[in-house]
């Protein structure tokens, strides 16, 4: 896990090395960092170097975190150039081959939470290619938590948006063998409008915080819980007991095939199979690499080591190692944020069958949280 991904750093700072991949072909060229030019020029350049002048392209690049992000305007193009350190890795796809209609239908047919409604106002409209987004939150471990609890993961990813919530002391009522007992608890006290927490719709004022990244908060002071949350802020997993219990996931309403879901608890590669359509699978299997590993290490923020010659290097940990070893781009995986894995043995062994199965499962359930997974 401690292998580092190191890029030779003896390049001049001025040039950006570009490695562009389309299908199985690579092209390498360089750009001047200080004068990147406009996106349409760049787009033309890409079509030129790959000799695909008339092909509509989806341009993506791997950012410092190893995530695939889109380049489709001047702003994100300039961002990509400025962040290249110093290699900029591009991944091109034919636009027509990106089959996102399946996503669209799956997403828009189920919308019950307010968050989902907020995110998808007009169901028929395809809001965008989900890959253009990075996940900002997810509900995880639905299968192992009591239905009254919700485990929410917030992805901070170094973005500018604040986490945007406050916590307070309070008291809650627990059922004990001796009867009802009033115990001190930690509650969400306020949401900052426009903050990450609010925009996900998964957390609300007066939700009781039960755990922070797997550690129970009972017995801990408000300051301790604050420090724990801040220490985990790059990948915060909060288990709450929502104040509003009407939007809980009802677990056992699914069809027979899915009801006996195994105890898988966190995101893992199997979840990918559960969500990607067979077509997409067949088309871009090699592009899809686990970005978010289930174990804690991969979510670890990466310390930045700058050598004396000023070439920035990343100490990438487990997640990045995967990228490095396959030398494959990391496509953003559509995170199965509800963790609706029906990962029994057959599913794991047969990807397509499993995914079909999963779709059945998805349709069979009354799902409410979908909209939130692609909320920005």
């Amino acid at each position: 896990m401690n292998k580092n991904h190191r890029v030779p750093s003896n390049r001049t700072l001025n040039a950006v090395e570009v490695k562009s991949k389309f299908g199985a072909e690579f092209r390498r060229f360089s750009l001047e960092r200080s004068k990147p030019g406009r996106f349409d020029e760049f787009y033309g350049l890409l079509q030129h170097v790959h000799r695909i002048p008339n092909v509509d392209l989806l341009v993506g690049y791997a950012d410092v975190h190893g995530d695939l992000l889109p380049i489709n305007n001047d702003d994100n193009y300039h961002k990509a150039i400025s962040m290249a350190a110093p290699l900029l890795r591009l991944f091109l796809q034919r636009k027509e081959e990106a089959d996102y209609s399946a996503f669209g239908t799956d997403t828009v047919t189920r919308k019950k939470t307010p968050a989902a409604l907020a995110a998808v106002k007009k169901p028929p409209i395809i809001i965008s290619l989900p890959k253009d987004f990075r996940p900002v939150s997810s509900i995880i471990d639905v299968d192992i938590l009591p239905e009254t609890h919700r485990r929410v993961r917030l992805y901070k990813h170094g973005q500018e948006k604040p986490l945007g919530f406050y916590i307070r002391d309070g008291s809650s009522v627990r059922v004990t063998p001796q009867g009802l007992e009033k115990v001190p608890g930690i509650f969400i006290s306020r949401m900052v409008p426009g903050g990450l927490a609010e925009s996900t719709g998964l957390l609300a004022v007066n939700d009781e915080v039960l755990e922070v990244n797997g550690i129970e908060v009972s017995g801990k002071s408000l300051d301790q819980v604050t420090d724990m949350m801040i220490a985990n802020s790059h990948n915060l997993i909060i288990t709450v007991k929502p104040a509003n219990q009407r939007n809980n996931v009802v677990r056992n309403s699914g069809g027979g095939a899915t009801s006996g879901s195994s105890g898988r608890s966190s995101d893992s590669s199997t979840s990918f199979y559960g969500y990607s359509t067979p077509g997409l699978m067949a088309m871009t299997p090699s592009h899809i690499i686990q970005n978010y590993e289930p174990d804690e290490e991969s979510e670890e923020e990466e310390d930045l080591v700058i050598e004396a010659d000023r070439g920035a290097k990343l100490i990438l940990q487990a997640g990045a190692r995967a990228t490095a070893s396959t030398s494959m781009p990391a496509l953003p995986r559509y995170e199965p944020h509800l963790d609706l894995r029906t990962s029994n043995g057959t599913m794991a062994s047969s990807a397509s069958a499993g995914s079909l199965n999963a779709h059945k499962g998805l349709e069979g359930r009354s799902l409410e949280e979908d909209g939130t997974v692609i909320t920005l």
Partner: protein
């Protein structure tokens, strides 16, 4: 690692002066002194090393303590009107102080009011079988100690009507046993009436109808006369004669500091001497208008008159004198004065009554402690030189004539010497012998004399301005006033092998000092290092730098300054380190860090760590000490605070109320990750030198590391010329690595570990054959401790190896950290290194190094005690110190082997056991109805 390395956490001994002392007692038979405090602690001191501590269960102030002479028993009276009996018991062949019984004083039958039965004074008969208690209501109660019989002597209502004028006599102010006839006691009432009472006949022998409000009484040794002191600042001598049962006027009446109104004489002692005239000692009595604010104690004998002028309130005092009944005179040998902030002992036998330095109860806080530094295993050479430097400052530094010599110190003379250095607000650094139980002052270093300060002019003024009368003599060293808050010491770094010391202060001053045995008169080299490095758009709004004195300055033997480096802007120094072998010092402030070659007197490097958005750093983070006026005001406030006694309870009550309030209006906390532009992110938190692999894995060399508040670590490779070429060739520094911890928590500490995972030895340790050479074969690693995590990175690649995320797991943050070596109890050969960490919750965690596996956890300091947590220092052998009050260090030990605790024995003879089962309690209520008839009730409880 397991139990044989770590003991259970033990708080072993308290060093320094007890906070807020409130009572004093002395046992002339055992030669022990006891001090009670407002927080309910009782501390016993005898010969140096003989110390015992007890703490009452309730934190009520100890108002009085009395020894049962020779029995090793103490009675304490608390201000919640309870009496406690303490005994010195022998356990495991050493003495401990334990509470054996407590006694709730009852109200008089039928009267619920507590104020009337509130005990004002206690008298223990010399025979130790009877305790007399004087109360607020004017009653005197007797407690028979053998069986705890309790009798009450009720109101005295027999007084001549013309004296009484219909008013009450007021509380009992003093109870004194007749020095010759143990059955007679003298009872003094607040209004001035003094009664000589015979316990056997239950009769009043004499009445003395004093008309001045009474403060205290003392017998003359023969019992033929006694002295009373009064609220008007005077004292009276009364003759006791059996022929005259009712005395109206004293033999003599004096107001020593009259004729203008004077303050009360709170306590008076009258001691006869063989040489003739008696020695009169009294506290207070100063002329109200001109010296009413002074804390004074007067010693009078014939024409000799000294007014001891203290800097804090006199709590109590006693003399050590001959108590042998056969001797004719008291012949006092010493006066012991307990002040609010220190203990002063005066030799009464030597001419001029000089002070005797105390081997314990050192007033650590004579000027407020601002930082501390511990040096373990001090080389004998340095030790001797420090001691000799100290002896030249204060020649009386042997404790052989220390008058309190009760008990035996059983602790062996501590072999490895330990020094504790404390930096103070007035720019001094004090060196303490921390090897044993009592923290002894060794040497005091002042850094103020190399600067021009306002305080310079005052010296001449105070000397000339002192008046002839009263003959004041300044005594004691407690001095909370600082000439200039910029002088305050912030950081200390020592090289114990070369006798070099670096001291850094609040105005960005970094002073390099060298230990010298000779007096010297030299100029100091001054250098200025600009840490902003042409960073534009910043203006420093804080204090100015301290102007150094021009010309040469005379320095006494000891640590003598050679180089003064001043950081610009002159913000407080936040980190400093010294490498004497390389002649380098590194220092950091809130703006950046610098590296200075003190051999060539040339700066090597300056680096700005400021974040462009950080405006607060420019304001001067210590702007609270910006003005002298403000700091004076704070000092006054602090003093005032220490004077008010009842205030504490109000505060506690308020705190409790606040807790209840918290439920009504809860506080909320914002959850947001640290960002790069948080304020004060550029503060340099730690610096370290190491000989290690930074550039490649084959060549090691000198490096310097700096960590900041924003989680940045800068590592420089240094090019240090060999010993011979120091003068010709300059040191070069090249930035090797910059590490940005992504969690951005402040970097608290950096340490380089060798190939075996051991910390690198200190400079000179290897070249002088004092430590095993570090493993330079295996790959080195660097341990970076932030407030949230511990991380070990391999060198030179800086690849993460192990880590422990403390905050993410426990919700606590790192406050203090140290690498300590723990030696096994069973074998001296076996030891392991461990990372010791104190968190903001006040608990101590121990981790293995370099695996960073949690080993043990102890609760240490209350989490509310922020100054205690901030003051904590760890030793290299698994001990530590923290301030439990401004004046006291608590010493604790994590090591199973190295424990410094009192090991003493006080042998006592007890005529009988005071066993709890036998206690019966009886009220014998004697009511005098004009004609001295006895009446009342008897009550027994078993």
């Amino acid at each position: 690692m397991c139990d044989f390395l770590f003991s259970s956490f033990t708080q072993t001994v308290e060093h320094g002066f007890p906070n807020q002392p409130s009572a004093l007692a002395y046992d002339p038979k055992l030669q022990l002194m006891a001090i009670g405090t407002k927080s309910g602690a009782i501390k016993i001191y005898g010969a140096p090393g003989v110390e015992m501590t007890g703490l009452h269960k309730d934190t009520a102030a100890v108002t009085q303590i009395h020894f049962l002479y020779g029995q090793g028993r103490i009675l304490s009276l608390l201000d919640d009107n309870t009496i406690h009996l303490w005994e010195i018991v022998q356990r495991e062949n050493r003495s401990h102080l334990v509470e054996v019984h407590s006694f709730n004083l009852p109200g008089r039958p039928g009267i619920e009011s507590t104020s009337a039965t509130r005990v004002t004074v206690m008298l223990l008969k010399l025979s130790c079988d009877l305790l007399a208690l004087g109360t607020e209501g004017g009653g005197v109660h007797f407690l028979e100690l053998v069986l705890f019989f309790f009798k009450t002597l009720g109101h005295l209502q027999y007084i001549p009507e013309e004296y009484k004028c219909g008013k009450s006599l007021g509380p009992v102010e003093s109870l004194q046993q007749h020095p010759q006839d143990s059955d007679k006691i003298l009872i003094g009432y607040s209004r001035g009436l003094v009664v000589l009472w015979d316990l056997n006949s239950r009769h009043v022998d004499n009445l003395f109808l004093g008309k001045q409000q009474l403060e205290s009484l003392v017998w003359e040794r023969s019992g033929n006369s006694f002295v009373s002191s009064h609220s008007d600042g005077g004292y009276m001598v009364w003759a006791v004669s059996s022929s005259n049962p009712c005395t109206h006027d004293p033999i003599s009446s004096t107001i020593p500091y009259g004729p203008f109104p004077c303050k009360a004489v709170n306590k008076i002692l009258w001691r006869t001497t063989e040489s003739g005239s008696p020695l009169v000692l009294f506290s207070g009595g100063m002329p109200r208008a001109s010296y009413g604010d002074r804390h004074c104690l007067t010693i009078l004998q014939d024409s000799s008159h000294v007014t001891l002028d203290f800097t804090s309130r006199v709590i109590d005092f006693f003399t050590i004198h001959c108590t042998d009944k056969d001797k004719e005179f008291d012949d006092p040998s010493a006066l012991v004065v307990l002040l609010e902030e220190e203990l002063v002992v005066i030799d009464l036998q030597m001419a001029g009554w000089p002070t005797v330095p105390a081997p314990y109860l050192a007033p650590l806080h004579s000027s407020a402690i601002t930082c501390s530094c511990h040096i373990s295993n001090v080389p004998p050479k340095l030790w001797e030189r420090v001691i000799s430097a100290g002896q030249q400052q204060c020649p009386l530094q042997n404790y052989e004539n220390w008058p309190l010599c009760g008990g035996k110190n059983l602790a062996a003379d501590p072999k490895p010497k330990e020094l504790l250095l404390t930096g103070h607000e007035d720019g001094t650094v004090r060196f303490w012998d921390a090897s044993g139980v009592s923290l002894k002052p060794l040497y005091k270093l002042s850094t103020a004399n190399i600067f021009q300060t306002d305080g310079d002019h005052n010296d001449s003024l105070t000397q000339a301005g002192e008046e002839e009368w009263p003959p004041f003599r300044k005594v004691g060293c407690f001095d909370p006033y600082s000439d200039d808050p910029r002088l305050a010491i912030q950081k200390i770094s020592v090289c114990k092998y070369s006798g070099k010391l670096v001291v850094a202060g609040t105005a960005g001053q970094v002073i390099v000092l060298v230990l010298s045995d000779e007096k010297s008169d030299h100029m100091i080299d001054v250098a200025t290092v600009d840490l902003l490095q042409d960073r534009e758009g910043f203006t420093w709004k804080g204090h100015d730098r301290l102007p150094p004195k021009s010309g040469s300055v005379v320095f006494a033997p000891g640590f003598q300054p050679v180089v003064l480096v001043q950081c610009m802007p002159p913000a407080a120094v936040t980190a400093v380190t010294l490498h004497a072998e390389w002649n380098l010092i590194a220092f950091g402030t809130s703006h950046g860090f610098g590296l200075f070659d003190y051999h060539r007197r040339s700066p090597v490097l300056a680096r700005c760590t400021l974040h462009p958005n950080d405006s607060l750093a420019m304001e001067g983070p210590l702007s609270r000490v910006k003005s002298l006026k403000k700091s004076l005001r704070q000092s006054f406030r602090r003093i005032r605070k220490s004077r008010v006694s009842g205030k504490k309870r109000v505060q506690e009550a308020n705190a409790q109320l606040a807790e209840h309030d918290a439920e009504v209006t809860p506080v909320q906390r914002r959850i947001e990750p640290r960002s790069a532009d948080d304020s004060l992110s550029g503060v340099v938190r730690c610096l370290c030198f190491a000989d290690t692999f930074l550039r490649d894995g084959t060549h090691h060399g000198p490096t310097m590391w700096a960590g900041t508040n924003s989680g940045s670590v800068y590592a420089y490779a240094l090019d240090v010329p060999s010993q011979e070429k120091f003068s010709e060739q300059s040191v070069e520094a090249l930035l090797g690595k910059e590490i940005q911890l992504m969690h951005r928590a402040p970097v608290v500490s950096i340490a380089v570990l060798d190939g075996r995972g051991n910390p690198l030895p200190e400079p000179y340790e290897v070249s002088r054959d004092l430590a095993k050479a570090p493993d330079m074969q295996g790959s080195h690693s660097v341990l970076i401790v932030s407030e949230e995590q511990f991380k070990v990175f391999m060198l030179p690649k800086v690849s993460a190896k192990t880590k422990f995320k403390l905050t993410a797991h426990e919700g606590c943050r790192v406050r203090k950290v140290a690498l300590s070596n723990f030696t096994s109890v069973s074998s001296e050969e076996y030891s392991e290194n461990a990372l010791v960490c104190l968190t903001n919750l006040g608990d101590i965690h121990v981790f293995s190094v370099p695996a960073l596996r949690p080993q043990v956890r102890y609760d240490c300091i209350r989490k509310e005690d922020i100054s205690g947590i901030a003051s904590c220092v760890f030793t290299k052998t698994g001990q530590g110190f923290y301030l439990i009050s401004p004046s006291e260090y608590e010493r604790f030990s994590l090591s199973a082997r190295v424990i410094t605790e009192p090991l003493c024995r006080v042998d006592v003879e007890r005529p009988h056991d005071l066993s709890l089962q036998q206690i019966r309690y009886l009220i014998f209520n004697i009511l005098y109805q004009g004609d001295f008839t006895v009446g009342g009730a008897t009550q027994a409880i078993s």
